[in-house]
Subunit: 243 residues, 6 copies
Amino acid sequence: MNLLLINPNTTASMTRSMAEAARRVARPDTRITAVQPSFGPVSIEGHHDEVIAAAGVLEQVRQAGTGADAVVLACFGDPGLDAAREATEAPVLGIAEAAFHAASFVSTGFSVVTTLVRTCVIAEHLVLKYGYERRCRGVHGTDIPVLALEEDDGLACVPALEDACRAALARDRSGAIVLGCGGMAPVSAELQRRLGVPVIDGVAAAVVLAEALVQLGLRTSKQGDYATPLPKRYLGWAGALGW
Amino acid sequence: MNLLLINPNTTASMTRSMAEAARRVARPDTRITAVQPSFGPVSIEGHHDEVIAAAGVLEQVRQAGTGADAVVLACFGDPGLDAAREATEAPVLGIAEAAFHAASFVSTGFSVVTTLVRTCVIAEHLVLKYGYERRCRGVHGTDIPVLALEEDDGLACVPALEDACRAALARDRSGAIVLGCGGMAPVSAELQRRLGVPVIDGVAAAVVLAEALVQLGLRTSKQGDYATPLPKRYLGWAGALGW
Amino acid sequence: MNLLLINPNTTASMTRSMAEAARRVARPDTRITAVQPSFGPVSIEGHHDEVIAAAGVLEQVRQAGTGADAVVLACFGDPGLDAAREATEAPVLGIAEAAFHAASFVSTGFSVVTTLVRTCVIAEHLVLKYGYERRCRGVHGTDIPVLALEEDDGLACVPALEDACRAALARDRSGAIVLGCGGMAPVSAELQRRLGVPVIDGVAAAVVLAEALVQLGLRTSKQGDYATPLPKRYLGWAGALGW
Amino acid sequence: MNLLLINPNTTASMTRSMAEAARRVARPDTRITAVQPSFGPVSIEGHHDEVIAAAGVLEQVRQAGTGADAVVLACFGDPGLDAAREATEAPVLGIAEAAFHAASFVSTGFSVVTTLVRTCVIAEHLVLKYGYERRCRGVHGTDIPVLALEEDDGLACVPALEDACRAALARDRSGAIVLGCGGMAPVSAELQRRLGVPVIDGVAAAVVLAEALVQLGLRTSKQGDYATPLPKRYLGWAGALGW
Amino acid sequence: MNLLLINPNTTASMTRSMAEAARRVARPDTRITAVQPSFGPVSIEGHHDEVIAAAGVLEQVRQAGTGADAVVLACFGDPGLDAAREATEAPVLGIAEAAFHAASFVSTGFSVVTTLVRTCVIAEHLVLKYGYERRCRGVHGTDIPVLALEEDDGLACVPALEDACRAALARDRSGAIVLGCGGMAPVSAELQRRLGVPVIDGVAAAVVLAEALVQLGLRTSKQGDYATPLPKRYLGWAGALGW
Amino acid sequence: MNLLLINPNTTASMTRSMAEAARRVARPDTRITAVQPSFGPVSIEGHHDEVIAAAGVLEQVRQAGTGADAVVLACFGDPGLDAAREATEAPVLGIAEAAFHAASFVSTGFSVVTTLVRTCVIAEHLVLKYGYERRCRGVHGTDIPVLALEEDDGLACVPALEDACRAALARDRSGAIVLGCGGMAPVSAELQRRLGVPVIDGVAAAVVLAEALVQLGLRTSKQGDYATPLPKRYLGWAGALGW
């Protein structure tokens, strides 16, 4: 199968590092194409960044046409998820969504450990959207900048993340950790080894769940809320996005 | 005061008609500047349209700089609302949000009557976001296209809307109607006259609430989730949006 | 317009001080009449006080007849709010309700700082009633008695309130403060200056929102739950309240 | 034990008829004193009636002093319940509260059938307050006036009530009926016989639950939210209610 | 009346001690038969224990046939409650359910203090099931093993429980304590004496509420979700449980 | 990998038919072992059946020891799910849980169509447990008995199911169908073909999601609520289940 991995920010090295994380868990016959938008922020650390990134996601979904069997949006805010589902029949998965679902199979309650405190509210809105307001027992910011995770494969951040995870597990009485940033993919295995509880990286979770949905033959419903966008003109730079 | 009214779609005639509705309720000393993005869909009828429109909202907020004392986003999906609040200290109001608040002061429960059935889910997500899952007793689609409201000041749509409102009031045991599209502003007074219950147009509601917040001296909190976007590079057409 | 400001307790000096706070934010052409019931508790610090105060609110609404264009109930428990809405077509606003709505426009989450710990539960019930169980991130009592706020315009209470607000902002990760007592109106500006975040006094918020609703031409729905009370006999001292 | 049954309205014949219903289920050694306020509405059919009735409840609780081992408030809106709990250490039970609890022991879901449609919202607020928003599957008004239940022991209303109950059971997929008015006490047995499902009259339910709480030795908590009212002056007719 | 008290675990001494606690509060004319299953765990400290205990509950309900007027399940997880209700027309009460209801009559918020931290999640699921997610302000584990409560009538555990209760009351701002294990029945009176707030033992609460329901003539609804099990074959050791 | 498929009822032909459905979607290298308990009901159509079936699930999980890489519980009530997770480190998936998750990736809202009306409440409790109270827009019973699905591969039931699905999609404004019984696995493809929307069979969904979790290396958290059962004696037939 063909899996389109969209990094919603515009930092190509981050796209590569997430693609590697994806390939580590993907099946041998899954071809992963990793892309990022031609425009937008170099990292996503707030609502403003996210809105532009969501537009970038749509650009990439459109360019992929019908070539993808499944699409993964590799930013923990799941930017543009509902819109991307309108734009394709292939299943589209956000990494927050995928991580929450995966965590719920192996624990009665989990904690999210993320980057900036100011973005906790974005994760909290997703927790509510996906119905995890009871299973997610806490969202915790570390104020590690997203791009700091890019240096040295994030290794320098492991101690601070480990501390934050331990504090979250204790305070929230949780059984698992969800990492709240696509950029944390490279350090998830090490954290799981240190903590002794499931540590879920959304990129990996989304990849295997996307494969599962394709195997099941499930396609995005085109009856109702995710129907194909109505034909209409888009002006300006967005001209190519009109339907 | 200076009020920036942003029509998130790119149909200039709709901007004008909403500006007129806004001026009808605004105070004499409120200067209303009505704009629309330079790019994006001519109407907003789904998540895909909405994502691009949200980016357009940010373009306009940025162009206004510090010139606006308050900002109103005149599309019922409140596209880009949280992001716009990061981008300015002026209060920013969505018309769905404003309409829900206004309706809650004059009824224990209200019904939303909107355009396309496929967009009901967008209103329902906002109902949840703003905490109206109990006070909003139903969201009802009419499958009137947004741009049909543009012709003849929407008069042709009044009978269909009246029928839908009456059905909603009866089924939901509601005491008020919230109109679920900025394009319905011109017909709200007529509908209220016919129905005998409060009929709330979000554009008008947002204008008077924006004036009230300015009068109160309230500004968007810059501590925490709505803090100014972090300084970073935006690539491509979005270059001017980087902070 | 004529705005009736009802202080639900019977301390006339508190009525005056809230009237001053109201006039500071009101438009020039708003005539504020401030009254209190002829009976009931000198301050409202529990459910028992509140029930009698709610009856007092109805006395005052009835005496005002149709003379008021809008009514503000200036006690943070919003006593008698639904009943007052039955009794008049003018919009009626509670100060807790108004403060919550105002805070939600300028922050993703706010904290309430109030007087007695024992009254926190009253605020919490209102938080639920108005749908703010997610946006209100905490209700905090200070055990400052209501009437202590009356002395010296509440200045003596500012340091304790500032400390409580800072603790609430940190613990709740909030972006704004809602003051949980009408008697705190005189100190809100000073607290906002010290804290650097929006501090919302419900009296001021209710006044400007009442003006906005009148400007919009909105009246309490008389279809359904807020319909005029049914004609019936009231016995004893309440005789004049029968319809 | 001494049980104080307060009819919150001022219709003495209704007090008598509810007292009879109470005595039919009470234990032999339970002495029931049935009273009504000296003031207030002859029936409770809206928020306005209810506020004055709540004040009347407090009058009666105060007059009873420490003479009651338990108190039952016999109006389905549970007027003044929290306030009454402050005013006495004896357990105080509302009939809506008692009926919901009783129904939840014998069905996974129940329907409320009440009098006026306009009062449904009062029951719905109680459903939320008591946590029954999932177990209560519907609240249905019949527009039978409260005092119509007084004539002929309510027998004339039985056919209409039976129809409403059958419709509610079918529509809500419920297993039990809660009668939404203290005045329906005399007809509950007949309705249960006709319908073949549990039909719960709140007056009877509250009486037996009050006996149970007394038997258990439970008293209202005086630590925290139901602590005795603070000592303070009450003015006017309410002077005797100050603490 | 005949009350069947089922201890869902297989420790006979615990059955006896709970029977004693039950008889202390029961009316003189209530005959209590206390039993335990012929199979299953000696204590219930997790989901695994609970599932087998639930099967044991059904064994005992079946053996009792129509001889019981009411049934009490004396384990705080309320194991097999819904199934037991299908199997008999007599009211069936779980002790968690009974305790929550009792606590809600005497406080606006209560805290649960239970045995093992790992079983808190079971109590939390019940809190949600019964609609107490707002009134129950916290569930606290003490890691006292269930069978430690059996020695010396639990007296050795009192100091640790008292500490845990005090901490819970302070942290949760609660007005009452619910004891989260049937084995705590013998120490509830002593804890209430020490703490000065209502301390509710579910066994005692369930007994008096069961008596109340019988007095009211309420039987489990056989229309709908609690209808008698459908006739069918059960294989293996469970053969006698088929209907 | 080794996947243990447990049919919680004791009808071997149903085990076989579900195993076939599982194998149709499983990867080539997944070895599926399909079993049923040695005891319990021949079908699960209520809470009573379910409790015994849950015990049967534990018997089978225990017998499998560490031989399974993942476990699927193939009854829509997910009987014994939490307990099974305590009993093994392998991921355990319920088919309701899996189906809800799968449906949420391809629609904003889905409807459940199940067998007996009396079991709808079981599905509704799971909807709440898994956080789908907003995404699941309705649960609909058809009163088709579970074992009727066994005859002729369920083909005779297709027309009735199709009608029920169409009615559910229209009434609930849903975009997908979740089939509410493991026995419906053989007819899901045909229903999807006829309806033109995603139709999700939980057995197939659970199989592919189990494969995904194994691929991800996720194991059930043993810290906290799903820790291995404590060592203790189980009496009677359950002796082998003690730890």
